[in-house]
Symmetry: C2
Subunit: 254 residues, 2 copies
Amino acid sequence: MNGGRLKNVQFPCRTCPLRANPIFRDFTKTELDFVERFKTGELTAAAQSVILREGAASAHLYTVLSGVGFRYKSLPDGGRQILNFVFPGDLIGLQGAVAREMQHSVEALTDVILCVFERERIWKLYESYPSLAFDITWLASREERFLDEHLLNVGRRSAMKRIAYLVMHLHTRVVALRMNRVQAKHEVIEVPLTQQHIADALGLSLVHTNKSLRKLERMGLIGWSQRMMVLPDLSRLKALADWDNESETIRPLI
Amino acid sequence: MNGGRLKNVQFPCRTCPLRANPIFRDFTKTELDFVERFKTGELTAAAQSVILREGAASAHLYTVLSGVGFRYKSLPDGGRQILNFVFPGDLIGLQGAVAREMQHSVEALTDVILCVFERERIWKLYESYPSLAFDITWLASREERFLDEHLLNVGRRSAMKRIAYLVMHLHTRVVALRMNRVQAKHEVIEVPLTQQHIADALGLSLVHTNKSLRKLERMGLIGWSQRMMVLPDLSRLKALADWDNESETIRPLI
DNA sequence: CGCTTACTTGACATTGGTCAATTATGGTGG
DNA sequence: CCACCATAATTGACCAATGTCAAGTAAGCG
């Protein structure tokens, strides 16, 4: 349609730096052309800003190009439950594209760059690009898997195990993206989180989260200092978390 | 392909008793024809039997035609977390169709009749029936919404509120299906659950669940006897649960 | 340097968990 | 219809994990 028109885009899909990562499946030229036309722009969200708000009818669908955020729901009493974290390559706002309005919010932890897609055009995608439509289902299914695991974690594990599991989850996702180019052993991850975020993700109080983190530190399982998390003993950490997930598989990037 | 062949099917899609319910969107003749060919048979699962098992590679995708069940994950120590309940019209096994193997199990609470679809043919659906492909995404998104809410419930609410919320959730879904044809006020629902199921869904112990249920009963919010739940005061129950969800919207039935 | 946000820690309160025993309920064979 | 059995529900006593409150200390930033 407007395939040839110039858009205000710094990262055309064809030369997308994220797509260079082999964790994302190869797209055919046709697919890539469509996605590039599907993408209508880029948006930058500052750290701490709200990208999508519960109750709002979003006109857009986004893919995270860079940065980290989280999905959450709020309670009338001010309580907050973090549902999942959002990393580069994640599609957000699908709920708003499929239903009338968003049922959860998304907030940026770091500055975030988003690829913007018009929700209307998702129809065109389903009509003409079945492989991409399948990819969207695939991504939704992956998100559901994360939620299932998270719910098991919160519903049935002790505070210590919950934290261990969350750390392993974050570690796995960060490693898959190679966001840490630091060392061979991959035992350091950068996590732009506050202890309050961990508490809100795990259904714990801030104080108890802090005490549990310190305990894990004394046990030599994690180190925590200025936004860096050190994991000196992955195998003991995995054991504590009942971690038996594989590393992330190749996935689509829309 | 085998469109005209006779299959061992008691409930052809065209005359599907479930589809008669206006909660399901109208399908075009084309869509209906495809679904009917997509469906390769029916399967009956006895109450208490496991329909899909975690770790198994399912060759099938199912739609629940009648009966009730639940999705769950198990822990090495024998613990179990119920992720969601499964009602007529729900699609199950999508994870197995999209990934290599199931990451959760599904068990029948009552006898269940399932429509069986071959996972291979889901490709054909995506290629040729974009509206149905979109429907699958829609259903996945609905499931994700339930999970988000469930996680908020388990992570951030007290036992009493958790139960109130779950009861409202079940009430809403049952009413949408008109499984209770009893009264105008809709304040009685049949729930084939044991208190252990409620406990496992809410991340509570059996004993505490029991005590909380009795307390809710004494407060006049719920009555519980032989698989029937009476809700004498929906508005107070909603208030306790912070319930502000709309009733179920029209949805696809595949 | 002073301010604000994040992190720590101790004392204490409470929710919810565990154990153990008892009672109800439903189904089955006689 | 009854005795028996298995499963589910109920209850009390006690315990432990986690939450709340309050008072710091440390760290990042203009």
